[in-house]
Symmetry: C2
């Protein structure tokens, strides 16, 4: 096993891909897995880190290039990166002195799929607020 093993939400098997959050009630275990990933995204610093990593043209970013973008200590940045990694949103590799991070787009793809309505579903009529 040479590749990193990553727990990606809902990847129980080939038929288990992408249960829609909006189309059927979510099972309790699916909700627990999914909530972990959303919780990892529920912090402005982690969102900015993910955005910096995902939008880098070269496909990966040295931690030494991430830290200067924030007014935070290196251990704090490393902690946030660890939470993103544990959620399956990024992967890391140490080379020499530095750790390099790259996005795992299969996880964000999965979230986007889960949040996407079936094609053609109309918006509900907006309710009038009580006057």
């Amino acid at each position: 096993m040479s590749n990193q093993e990553l727990v990606v939400l809902g990847q129980g098997g080939p038929g288990d891909c992408c249960p829609g959050l909006l189309t059927a009630p979510l099972a309790e275990d699916q909700a627990v897995e999914l909530a972990k990933v959303f919780k990892a995204l529920g912090d402005p610093v982690r969102l900015r880190l993910l955005s910096l990593i995902a939008s880098r043209a070269g496909g990966e970013v040295c931690v030494c290039d991430l830290t200067p973008a924030f007014d935070l200590s290196q251990p704090t940045i490393s902690h946030h990166l660890k939470l993103l990694r544990e959620a399956g949103l990024i992967a890391s590799e140490r080379r020499g002195t530095w750790v390099y991070y790259r996005p795992l787009p299969e996880t964000t793809d999965r979230l986007a799929g889960i949040l996407t309505r079936p094609a053609g579903e109309p918006l509900p009529e907006p309710a009038e607020a009580p006057s």
Copy 2:
């Protein structure tokens, strides 16, 4: 003003729609707004509540139909519903004894858009873990 006013993330103006999380570094204020919504989704009970509300055929659900699906008190359920409402994910309306909830798909649409890669962008090559 008869309709409910909802703060939907990134809706600063017509040209401000859907900055991609994965295509360009996220601005600090955008990250703060966006993190609030992801944080609201970062809990299994809230995810299941949203899923129950969004997947209901009639477009809305009475709180009296939501509570029995959980082994939690009515005030706890109401607290989670409040957080979903404050994040712009659902709207509520009181009619008589009960409060009715409906999804706000424009917010989940927006999240899905933010998490979607530009078409045709390849997956980065997976890095080999050190042996």
